[in-house]
Symmetry: C2
């Protein structure tokens, strides 16, 4: 099995997931800045030219961080990062989608359309007039989260994929042009709890 | 088990999923236009005030269409709409996320920030300056899809959650202010194939 990754929050998500599982998977690093992910060899792995990609031993290629993490959870259920019961998995998937749609994706596009446009402008769709709205959308949901996040993790006592996804994207945004407001005290306290784990490092 | 739903593409996604599975689940319809989903009874079900919500017999409440469909697939695996093997599930989840992030969510927000603002403006974050960029983002991915969609369904011969999700959002957009360009011939041919199923109706 091979995990193709690069800098950036999407590849970090499944990389943190692999580290939390304690898995020994071959990592293949592509140079995003040089555009190695837009070369024919990678377009064959993922016709969208994006990273990450998980390549199974039979050659099956899986893209999209959440699909990759779901697959790794099935292959290596311990320690659980999605869940061991129907209710746990449902709760994790609910929080993962809330984070993904409301926060992670808007922050990613705000970066690609804004400070990242020097790299992404020639590679994919960008629209600088949309940066303020995408940032506003993400922060609307971060403020909502600040009122609803538990004193532990997104799914209470369980540290899950939802936490990993949120951590990757908010710490990336915070250090790449979209600082997370210090008034979001409960979100910051959650960031510190996640960061205390040996596998998790702010992007 | 109860499924709380309303008009709109997100509730339609899991409703189509339920219909394709042939399940007899109690449907509870809320009046979105009157804002029943923003009343205390519903905020207790989902503090984001959104629909749909699946309520299990033990009282567990699950929001987010994809999390609901994953849960229904676990409870009622036949007919499979996510997959019966690891590789099938991985492929479905990959396509579901591609559709969700690249097409469905941008189209939903383009509607809420644009023609739907008369309803959503007082309920959640909206930003009319962002409509063009969100629409552009969705159509960039629809054009990509037009080059990559198979002559059958998104996962080849298998009709899956990814098709249901895409169908709900593109047909909703098409009839609510964001017409799907007729030049996207392969996407339109796919719409017609999906629509030929007895359970699927354009929104």
């Amino acid at each position: 099995m091979k995990y193709y990754h690069s800098i950036g929050p999407s590849p970090a998500t499944a990389r943190f997931f692999i580290a939390e599982k304690g898995l020994d998977i071959e990592l293949v690093t592509l140079d995003l800045m040089k555009g190695e992910n837009r070369e024919p060899a990678h377009l064959e792995r993922n016709p969208l030219g994006q990273l990450p990609v998980l390549e199974l031993d039979d050659g099956t290629r899986i893209t999209e961080s959440i699909a990759i993490c779901e697959t790794l959870e099935e292959l290596f259920p311990t320690p659980p990062l999605i869940g061991t019961t129907l209710e746990e998995r449902a709760e994790t998937r609910m929080w993962t989608q809330r984070v993904n749609l409301g926060i992670a994706y808007p922050l990613l596009k705000a970066f690609q359309f804004g400070p990242g446009r020097v790299v992404y402008g020639s590679r994919t769709y960008t629209n600088p007039e949309t940066v303020a709205g995408l940032t506003g959308l993400a922060f609307y949901h971060l403020e909502w989260l600040d009122r609803h996040v538990s004193d532990q993790f997104l799914c209470g006592p369980r540290f899950t994929l939802a936490d990993i996804l949120l951590f990757s994207f908010v710490t990336f945004a915070d250090s790449h042009g979209n600082p997370i407001d210090k008034k979001l005290k409960r979100v910051w306290s959650w960031i510190e709890r996640v960061e205390a784990r040996p596998t998790m490092k702010r992007l």
